[in-house]
Amino acid sequence: MAECHPVGFQWVMEAKARGAKVIHVDPRFTRTSALADVHVPLRAGSDIAFLGGIVNYVLQHDRYFRDYVVAYTNGPVVLREDFRDTEDLDGVFSGLDPDTRSYDNSSWQYAGTEIQAASGQRDQEYGKRTGGGSSVSDAARGEAHGAGGADVGEGEPERDETLTHPRCVFQVLKRHYARYTPEMVERICGVPQDLFRQVCELVTENSGRDRTTAFAYSVGWTQHTVGVQYIRTACVLQSLLGNIGRPGGGILALRGHASIQGSTDIPTLFNLLPGYIPMPHAHQKQDLDTFVRADAARKGYWGNMRSYLVSLLKAYWGDAATAENDFCFDYLPRLTGSHSTYETVMAQLEGTCKGYFLMGENPAVGSANAKMQRLGMANLDWLVVRDFSLIESATWWQDGPEIETGEMRTEDIGTEVFFLPAAAHTEKDGTFTNTQRLLQWHHQAVEPPGEARSDLWFTYHLGRIVRQKLAASTDPMDRPVLDLAWDYPTKGELAEPDAEAVLAEINGHDAEGNPLASYEQLSDDGSTACGCWIYCGVYADGVNQAARRKPGEQQNWVANEWGWAWPANRRILYNRASADPDGKPWSERKALVWWDAERGEWSGHDIADFKKDKAPDYRPPEDATGPEALSGTDPFIMQGDGKAWLYVPSGLTDGPLPTHYEPQDSPFPNLLYGRQRNPVRQLLPPHPDNRYQPSGDEPGSEVFPYVATTYRLTEHHTAGGMSRWQPYLAELQPEFFCEVSPGLAAERGLEHTGWATIVSARAVIEARVLVTDRVPALTVHGRTLHQVGLPYHWGPNGYTTGDAANELLHMSLDPNTHIQESKAFAVDIRPGRRPRGPAAVELVRAYRARAGIDDRTGTEL
């Protein structure tokens, strides 16, 4: 955090100054470790074993927050009799279909009910809930970004508030994690038992009524074939300890781009519509009502999904969207399985995808297996790149690595390339959504230079020109484009669209055009329009709330008059849980919101993430639906049962409880189960340039004996498009390097400041060598393990250049999010520079032959 979010880290230091203990768990010693009380180096790719070990410690030593667990989690809920855990099936859950490599989750349900996830894999239950209607896709995979929860089906789940029923979630959890002992943590993660116990003590001592512990993470948790389950393990732990919805608690995603949170909320993602409404999958005879019935939850705020969706369709298609035509629901294109960026590459190679827009993104450096990205682009008809400078994704046809090796010739490449210069943040109005869901408006300072334009300008005018060209069309495929509400006011000589008008559309308005103040006002009859329901309120009263800038010093510590946070300007999610079931703070020290009985409303330092006048003693009538179906003691209002989930009956494709599997490419066998890898991880169709490696005890795994991981540096930004061209930053971090321990340097003859060649089954790269104690050797499975650290910012273009670490990576993905496993893989390292020209390709081929790699390697269930 001190490296990649340095200014945010000042608050960690403030906490430390007030007595907080800071623990840093990372394979590397960084600026964060230097300022932490404890640094815990561990093997990259072993965090579920580590966190599972803490869960086991909490359960074995009765260190959980019992009142919180009983009242606010699904710990007391009893599971169906036919559920089988990994304990029973040696590393898999009941419902695994080996042929489709997927789980049927029906046996994971609560006894007597059926659950529908409202984020995550919502399509799982489609057939059951709509009474038939076949899906064309058996790969309708889920999405676990975001805001949602799940619905409890018909019937009340059976509960045991003594937490002793052998099939209650709490007891299942206890059995599941019993094998995650300190001894096991030591052998798998390379963390000595004393150090591990110290972490357990620090975390549990600092949790409970009077104290809270926070977990902050970044893509070191996300980018794995079990990435979602990494974060789920933290959810289990924090829910057991009562650390969610309370000040100083939480699981905080430190996101790495100015508006990456915003681009998830208002997604440019294939499977989501704004506000985490799922994109519809293709089904027979699917209309708006069938879709809502199948995908909306019945209880909680997702029970109002129809209002959110109809209001979105009104924002998209305006007057053309009417009750008679199902509000143009049919205009939405349908998914058939995954269409993620990695499948898009495969579609480019197949020739189905012919045109590609890159807007502020550099996949030729920044995506896993960068070569596959370039091969895909070389097979396009046309490519549009919008960026500040000539990034690698714009120039690969001229000077990319494949030109150098002779695998491609510029003259043979048919791709037509347009480079359009982009405007900077100082040259346009708009909002960024930061990592804590805070929308902040940045004002335009000057006009963009030359032909540089904002992406708002580009998208608006592209749509305008396309609509002009199609204006006379009578083809029904063109109706959605021609009916689109696309009249934005423009200003100035450049005809820049008014960003505030777009923000107002996102916020939404009523039938008279008055701005809405809250998503509670959204209606499903077409009388409201709203571009993103969770952002409703950002333009309340016609005022740009995101542009509010009351100085922090003139506010309380919550500072909720600076910018605007979704939802409803609440700064801490689920903060009803900061008070006990009666509505009183668990302790005065940790008070945040509370029930004011005199005024009959929730009051506090923050805005309550709860219906303002819903009393703690409110109990819903039996036939209630939507938000009304949640009681006054259900803080997790997006969940169908209002509870935090220790166990996930629906919404995840790879199991209801986090389980340790080895990374796709790993030098070690799985010590905990007979199953090496996540059995339902997503592998791409075989391709000669995306081979996987043998792992663990498989022959050939010794060819790649070292664990490697990628990371960022303070002085650079992701794939370098915004940092490698800046001389100030280039001077601070002038060259690509790898970090190795003195032991590894001795073992492989690597010299400090000399060169190293790093090889995987995909590629060979070179880097300057930094011999340092910052990446210490660990004892894993009883032997010494060396890890190789690789900052991934570099590529061949720009002011500071170097090979791209992402060349080494394979495409194997988390089955929930389709995110690649970049944070733990296996390599070989040797001294000296890499071969040039065709010899580089030959070296990789020789490694593959030596390891016995073919198209089946690493694809086992």
Partner: protein, 188 residues
């Protein structure tokens, strides 16, 4: 110059008489350096902004003079950042005004070996034609006899440093065009 001023201009005198006995501050300051002013002092206006790099969302003050950005500094009012910027945020003046930025549209024709110049309006028109054509070529009313009403002909990737308003228009337009392969850094 009066005697008093003359004596005051003598550093040793200031060192002995003033508040800087070690001669490391005010006593050692020369006339020219005392008259120096920061470039922000002469700015025509200060525009409130947000750092474009990571997701902490530090406040920035953008100083503008003669319609050019002359300096970018941390905004002390921000309860998020309290005026601080990291090395990247501090380099955002170079990011936005540096010579590495391209100011013109560039075009590489199929099988071409070099960039060519193209004016923006022509480029927009050509891109619109290609969108229409690729969309049609990849159009699928149905897949396995189930309605899909979509195209696999065009795809998009980016931008987690784009504004919400920009991402909103991208998703809206491409969805109306029937494109589903609309992706973002948030996936990566």
């Amino acid at each position: 110059m009066g005697v008093r001023t003359w004596i005051d201009s003598w550093p040793v005198y200031r060192q002995l008489k003033g508040t800087d006995p070690l001669g490391r501050g005010a006593a050692a300051k020369s006339g020219p350096s005392a008259r120096l002013t920061p470039r922000v002092a002469s700015a025509d206006r200060v525009v409130k902004s947000i750092c474009p790099y990571c997701a902490v969302g530090c406040g920035q003050n953008v100083y503008v003079q003669d319609e050019r950005v002359t300096q970018i500094e941390g905004d002390p009012d921000s309860p998020v950042s309290r005026g601080r910027l990291c090395p990247k945020g501090s380099a955002s003046l170079q990011l936005t005004t540096g010579s590495a930025r391209e100011h013109h549209v560039l075009y590489r024709r199929p099988h071409g070996t070099a960039w060519e110049r193209l004016d923006l309006d022509t480029a927009m028109d050509m891109i619109a034609d290609r969108v229409i054509e690729a969309r049609r070529a990849g159009w699928q009313w149905e897949v396995d006899e189930t309605r899909t009403r979509r195209t696999l002909g065009i795809a998009s990737l980016g931008g987690a440093t784009l504004d919400n308003e920009e991402n909103y228009l991208i998703k809206k337009l491409f969805t109306a065009l029937g494109a589903v392969q609309i992706e973002n850094q948030a996936r990566v």
